[in-house]
C-alpha cells in the first residue's frame, strides 16, 4: 500500500473537499460557455469501504470517477489520495499511481483489441517494469482465480461480456491495488452475469480489504455495497450506510 508521507486524516484513502469541475464549451456563436458538472463535493472514503455511487445519467458520476482515478483534474478544490495531494503530482507520478494503486473497471470493458486475455491482464505489469515472462505467469495465475484459465489465449472478441469483464477485473487486480474504481461495470451485462461480477467485487472487498467505489444505475447492484452515495446535478444529495 501507500506509504503515507502526510497522513492527512486517519485511515482515509480518499479525501475530497470543496471539489468542483466545469467544462468550457464553445457555443454556436463561438462564445465560450462554462458547464459546471460538479459543485463543491466533500467526500471521505476510508480504506476497506465498498461504496456505490448512484444518480441519473448526466449527474456527474463518471466525471467524479475520472477525477478519483487521476485520469482528470478538478477545476477547484482538493483531492488527497492516501495522504498525497494529487494536484502536486507530475504526470509520471500520476501514471505510476494509476499503475500501482488504482484498478479501473469500465462499462465497455476497454480491453485491448486483438490481444489475448492473458496479455491484456499482463500489460499493467509491463508498465511496472516487470519482464514479459513473469508478467504472463502472474496474469495466468489471476485468470485461474477468476475461473478463466481456459480462455487465457482468447481475444476479447472471442469472449462473452461477462468473461470480458472478468478479464478487465483481473487486469485491474494484477498490481494488487488498494483501490478499485468501477464505472457501471455491469451496465452491459445481463442480471445473472451482473450478480456474479458483484459477488466477485464483494469477495475482493471482504477477503482482501480492497476499497471499491462503484457506479451503478440499479438498486440491486448498489445493494452489494456498504455505503450509498447519490448524486444529483453535480451535488451529493444522499450519503448513507447501506443496511439491507
Amino acid at each position: 500500500m501507500f506509504s503515507p508521507e502526510i497522513n492527512h486524516s486517519g485511515n482515509s484513502l480518499i479525501q475530497i473537499s470543496n471539489l468542483s469541475k466545469s467544462y468550457s464549451l464553445q457555443d454556436a456563436n463561438g462564445k465560450t460557455i462554462t458547464n459546471q458538472v460538479l459543485f463543491n463535493i466533500n467526500l471521505t472514503i476510508n480504506q476497506g469501504e465498498f461504496v456505490a455511487i448512484m444518480g441519473h445519467s448526466g449527474s456527474g458520476k463518471s466525471t467524479l470517477m475520472n477525477i478519483l482515478g487521476c485520469l482528470d483534474i478538478p477545476t477547484s478544490g482538493s483531492y488527497w489520495l492516501a495522504g498525497k495531494n494529487v494536484a502536486t503530482l507530475s504526470s509520471n507520478e500520476l501514471a505510476r499511481i494509476r499503475n500501482q494503486h488504482i484498478g479501473f473497471v469500465f462499462q465497455g470493458f476497454n480491453l485491448l483489441k486483438r490481444m489475448s486475455a492473458l496479455d491484456n491482464v499482463a500489460t499493467p505489469l509491463l508498465y511496472a517494469g516487470i519482464s514479459r515472462t513473469q508478467s504472463r505467469r502472474r496474469a495466468l495465475e489471476l485468470l485461474r482465480r477468476t475461473g478463466l484459465e481456459n480462455f487465457a489465449m482468447h481475444q476479447p472478441n472471442q469472449l462473452s461480456g461477462g468473461q470480458q469483464q472478468r478479464v478487465a477485473i483481473s487486469r485491474a487486480l494484477i498490481n494488487q491495488p488498494p483501490l478499485i474504481l468501477a464505472d457501471e461495470p455491469t451496465g452491459n451485462l445481463d442480471s445473472q452475469t451482473s450478480n456474479e461480477i458483484m459477488l466477485l467485487f464483494q469477495q475482493l472487498n471482504r477477503d482482501q480489504g480492497i476499497t471499491i467505489v462503484l457506479v451503478t444505475h440499479e438498486d440491486d447492484i448498489a445493494a452489494y455495497a456498504g455505503r450509498l452515495i447519490r448524486l444529483k446535478d453535480g451535488h451529493i444529495i444522499v450519503d448513507k450506510n447501506n443496511t439491507n
Binding site: N66, A95, N99, F104, N110, L111, L126, Y127, R132
Partner: protein
Amino acid sequence: MNLLAIFGEALRALRQNRLRTGLTMLGMIIGVAAVVLMLSIGQGARTKINETIAAMGSNLFIVVPGATSSGGFSFGSGSVRTLTINDAYAIAELPSIKTTAPVVTGTAQLSYAAKNWSTIVTGTTANYFDVSNWKMEAGTTFTESEVRSAARVVVLGSVTAKNLLGDEDPIGKTIRITNRPFQVVGVLMAKGQSLTGRDQDDTVVIPITTSERQITGSQFPGSIRYMLVQGKSATEMDIAEIEIIQLLRQRHRIAQGKENDFTVRNLTAVADVATDAAKVMSIVLGAIASVSLLVGGIGIMNIMLVSVTERTREIGIRMAIGANQRAILTQFLLEAMMICIMGGLIGLLLGIGGAWLVSQFADMLIVITLGMVALAFLFASAVGIFFGFYPARKAASLKPVDALRYE
C-alpha cells in the same frame, strides 16, 4: 518502464496491421533502394573514370594540328596538316619535356588466313607505349631501330587480336595489312574505353615510318595526326605548356598576334574536368534518390498520424492502466523506426540486387561501399526518428480522460 516490453508492443501493433505496415514500408524500401542504386552507379562512374585516367599515363599533353576554334580536340577534322614528326622531335629536346610520341592514324584492311578485319592503324614511335602507359599482354613492343628501318612489325590491340586470330597465339604470326605482310611482335593489354567512349583496344600499332611510307601514306609527307608529349614533372606542366607553344610558333613562323595553328591540351586538366563531372553526377543522382526517401518519410508520418487518431482509445486504455507519456512516445516512435529500419534493410538488398542487374545488363561498373550501406541505413533511421517523432509526441500528450472518451 520496460523498453524490451514496449518494443514487443510496437512489434505487435505493426503485425496487427500487416497491409498498412507493408505499404508504409514500401515508401522506405523504394527510397533506400533508389539511394543505394544511385550512389553505386555514381561511384561506379567515378571509379571507371579514375581507372581510365590512371591508364592514360601521367603528365601528358596532347598536341593536335589546327587552331582550338577550328580543329578542337576531335581527331576527325584531319585536313589541316601543320604538325610534323620533326616538330615532335624538336619538342622532345625542350628542358621541361621528357619525351614525345608522334602519331599518324588511318583505317586499313587486315587479314589473316581467311579472316578479314578493318581497324584503325596507329603509326608511332617506340616510346608511345611507355608514354601512354600501355602495358603488353604478350610479346614485346617494336624497337627504336625497327622504327628507323621502317620494319614491318605490328603490335595488336587485344580486341583486334581476338577478332583476327581467335584463340591462336599471335606472337610471331604474319598478318597482312593492306596486303603487305607484317610480323606480330606483341599484343597490348586491354585498356577499355577512352573518356570519349571509343574502344581503344580495337587497333594495331606499327612504326610511324612504316605507316607513312606503306600504309596511311600522305600527300603532306612528315605530317602527323597528333603527338603525345610527356612532361618531366607534374609541377612543371604550366612551364612545359608555354615552352611547347613558344617552340611551335617559332617553328611554324607564326607572326605576333596571329592565332596558333595547333592546339595543346593538358590531359590531366581534361581528366580533372571528367572527375568533377562524375562527382556532380553522383551528387545529383543521390539528391534525386533522397527525394524519394523524403517522400517515404512523409508517408510514414502520415500513416503514423492516422494510426494515432485511430488508436486514441487504445492510448487512453494504456494510460489508464499505467503507461506514462514516455512509454506511449517510445512505442509510437519505435513503430515508425521499425518500419524505417526494416524497410531500409529490404531496400538495401533490393538496391544491391538492382545494382548487380544494372552491372550485368547495362555493362556499367557498379561500386557498392560499406560507407554507402551505412549511409543509407543511418538515413533510414534518421527519417524514422524525424518523421515518427511528431505523431508519437501527439499520442503521448493526449489527456487520459479525453483519449478514453474518444469514439
